[in-house]
Symmetry: C2
Subunit: 546 residues, 2 copies
């Protein structure tokens, strides 16, 4: 009997928030779990989002037997188009998750050539050598699942995003029985979400949002405008229920929100009475205290409805004094400033603004410390692999596991591209496969890499100074004064003054230059500007002969 | 009897965090309270900090009778050099605050020509027409004060940063008696800190940090390296006490921290036994479990000790596995990502990291909601002016006051430069005086304004494309292929490909251009690149004739 190994290869989601993608590889078979995107850090200038680097998979694309998406949030689904454009493999998801993927693929025109399969929580399916049991979990979206992956080397539990909500909005708790059953079969390794490892205790139930919404709805003197993620189907249900209780009509605004609402309603994940939902035009004609408008933009994205409302640039309606705005979401890490500036603007327009910091109009969908401990007790894994989080979350997850008796050497803290191997019931580190960030910059064609970002960072820090030299075509000596201009460097007045002196210095260097004129000028000007201003703008020299 | 008015003019600290500066003006007398700096938002590219715009004061500099600094934090003291370089006026502060200002002025060589006065909490001094009573407040720095400013139109209470700590580290509670005495005299207006208005309840006592430090010190297997602000004198005392209790020696590292420690020790605000404090070299030679090193860099600033330690670029020592790093501070708003990346790196170097999110190694120095209500009850003001905070904090402060019976029309929500007038016991809005941001960009000479920041933002978003045209000196037609290069635009390969096609387009336009060649090329290239890539890089065209 030969001892083949199971290889687990994270291509995203380790050491970062979002962009979740995990590869399970056994002999010549590959199973992919999740294809998420990630939002950029402050230092990733001009970038809209980042997707996993699938270079590793490209010459093994025939090995890919299936792609499982655990739930419908962007950080788990957002790169599905990019992956399916490169890898043709069947996609498995629960009904709502599939519905959300279909909305996404329809936009890109990929839907017809995709091979989508619906799986119900509780079902077991075979994908190549893997026997995968889907178990239901509570999260801030319905129909989320975790996976029990029976592999030839042992049972791996892939606990994607989850919480142990005891009173979920859809009355469907996390499937404790299946987790306990896994433990009876013996769990070789648990891969588990680390997002909330800094939070003690137990994450509050989604149900607490109902009480917070009731208070807001009872007190709001006029319209209520509530922003959330377009994929937060359970929040739509909660807002609809509150609207009914408080005798308000509900209008949905924004293409992605309306598309998702329609799809979820059709599939039975949203229960909205027909007389509750009205078109926006009708809502705007009703008395303000009879209206709730639900829209996108809870992250303050400038092009979203809420972003435009806060800037007074929305087309169909404006914020008016007396409006109550509810931001029913948590700022994505790195996005806090954007969200808070949106809130500031809304207050300045005369709205009252209710947000997570002042009322529980949003609760986390991720397990806190006691739930993470419960998951470990329920599954009793030999090995733990913390996933989903920045490095500090993964390290803190290891510390939490140690407190529960899992020795440090049985916890693997991985980075993306670090292969983990299981053979003969033992875990060990394998080689590293190349991975990097794949930056997606707007709807733009053409790519952006780390070199481009470094240039943007330099440009953003001190701007650029451009020099044009006109040389004598025979002697190579300067024929005229150098032309020097700048962008993003100093105020016009200060720049004029510094660059006037820089011209003299450039002329001197140009007169003495031999061989590489442009390089000599660049170097001399860089030193001159640093000495004069303590700044290091990018310098760009062109020359022409005449 | 003529009814002169009191004018209150915020030049900083309203609608933003930090950069606190308030002007009290009566007839031809001006009192300035605080001269703080502010840290930049994410969209202020390449900016180190921002100081108040004192343009309004420049042609009234003779009116300025005094400058009061309420406590020694940067957001209240950081612009003192800038102000004193422009306005010669006596500065009043309590002993420790004066000491911290002296350290700051000494660095700039301004100390000799400054006119500094020590005032004790409890004292009353006359500054022009203002009779100012200094009352002690608890904050995260000793020797902080609030002000009762008796003006010809009534008593104004200027409550700068404060908390009602019932068990302060220095056993000196906030001066309730004086606040009650103000209320008996009748308070026309209360100006009060809004920073923590989103926090329910009561801010924990500084004392809880002791227990958290005890736990860290008891459990740390090796060295403890603790970072905080250089001005957090009470934290130094707490760390020293913990070091003594746990039989560790303490070394301070970093010029500003050592300077402040020496000054505070000399003035009696720090009680450190001589055998406790050791030089760094000696600390590094001791067994790791006998050592605490206290340094700057709790905000992850790249040039600070902790910033360098996390990057492995510190000169005197490195992080080693077994180290326990404590970040004893709260991330400055907008700086969260920087702090968390530092924590991530420290974990990856093998340190255990303890920070505010996982243990109370820092508590806020600002009042929470119940304390803000207590201050209003103690002073019973007719009018309230929320200060210190972003717009949402000021608006929430107004809502809190309304809940306590202060009508909305008696609360003034101001922006910087908005004059507030008091005459005949009534408050009303006055005119606006011009104010803007004064950006300080490194140690650089020369100024940066909002136009420069807009250029940097454009450069950061999509980079720059530069075109050089060589024209026939007689006909003006293109003599060679246009040279087009880019920075921060696309990856080298993609840029080559797009710019090759752009060259053709530019050549066509140049052939047809009449009049303004450069402008026509810029316009055409901008459209071409947008159509091709959906990006709008800055475009810069130069031309030469030969």
């Amino acid at each position: 009997m030969k001892h083949s190994k199971l290889r687990i290869i994270p291509l995203g989601g380790l050491g970062e928030v979002g962009r979740n993608m995990m590869v399970y590889e056994y002999e010549r078979s590959i199973l992919i779990v999740d294809t998420g995107l990630m939002f950029p850090n402050d230092d990733m200038l001009g970038i809209d989002y980042i997707i996993p680097d699938i270079t590793y998979l490209l010459d093994k694309r025939d090995w890919v037997k299936g792609i499982i998406i655990t739930h419908g949030h962007e950080d788990h689904t957002g790169a599905i188009r990019h992956v399916l454009e490169n890898i043709q493999a069947p996609v498995y998801a629960t009904p709502l998750t599939r519905g959300l993927i279909e909305v996404k693929l329809a936009k890109g025109g990929l839907l017809q050539r995709s091979d989508l399969h619906t799986v119900q929580a509780g079902e077991t399916i075979h994908i190549g050598p893997f026997k995968v049991k889907f178990y239901h979990v509570c999260h801030s979206i319905p129909d989320a699942v975790g996976l029990g992956i029976e592999t030839p080397v042992g049972l791996i539990v892939h606990a994607s995003d989850y919480k142990f909500d005891q009173t979920p909005v859809d009355n469907w708790p996390t499937d404790y029985a299946t987790l306990a059953e896994f433990s009876q079969r013996g769990v070789l390794a648990l891969l588990a979400d680390s997002t909330n490892v800094e939070r003690p205790g137990w994450t509050p139930s989604e149900r607490v949002v109902d009480a917070a919404l009731d208070q807001v709805f009872a007190e709001a003197p006029g319209r209520i405008i509530l922003a959330s993620f377009a994929s937060l189907i359970s929040r739509m249900q909660q807002v609809a229920n509150a609207a009914q209780r408080h005798n308000r009509k509900l209008a949905f605004v924004g293409t992605s929100m309306v598309d998702n609402m329609r799809m979820a309603r059709k599939l039975g994940y949203l229960d909205l009475p027909d007389d509750l939902v009205v078109p926006l035009e009708q809502a705007l004609a009703l008395p303000p205290e009879r209206v709730v408008i639900m829209c996108t933009g809870s992250q303050g994205e400038p092009t979203s409805i809420m972003g435009r409302l806060s800037r007074g640039t929305n087309r169909q309606f404006d914020i008016i004094p007396g409006d109550t705005v509810v931001l029913s979401s948590h700022p994505i890490p790195g996005n806090e400033e954007n969200v808070y500036q949106t809130i500031n603007r809304l207050f300045q327009l005369g709205a009252n603004v209710i947000y997570e910091a002042i009322a529980p109009v949003h609760v986390s969908g991720h397990a806190s410390q006691e739930e993470m401990k419960l998951l470990i007790h329920l599954t009793r894994p030999k090995y733990l692999v913390p996933i989903h989080g920045e490095p500090r979350h993964l390290y803190r997850h290891a510390i939490l596991a140690q407190q529960m008796g899992i020795p440090r050497e049985n916890v693997a803290i991985l980075e993306n591209g670090q292969v983990l191997e299981f053979v003969n019931g033992q875990m060990r580190l394998g080689e590293r496969v190349p991975t990097s960030y794949v930056f997606v910059d707007g709807s733009g064609v053409g790519e952006v890499d780390e070199e481009v970002l470094r240039e943007r960072e330099a440009l953003a820090r001190d701007g650029i100074v451009m020099v044009h030299l006109v040389l004598d075509r025979f002697s190579g000596s300067l024929r005229r004064e150098p032309v020097i201009t700048s962008r993003g460097f100093l105020t016009a007045g200060d720049a004029d003054e510094v660059l006037a002196r820089a011209r003299k210095r450039v002329a001197e260097v140009a007169a003495r230059a031999n061989g590489n004129l442009n390089r000599d000028v660049e170097q001399a000007l860089s030193n001159f500007l640093y000495n004069e201003t303590r700044r290091r703008p990018l310098i760009y020299v062109t020359s022409a002969r005449e």
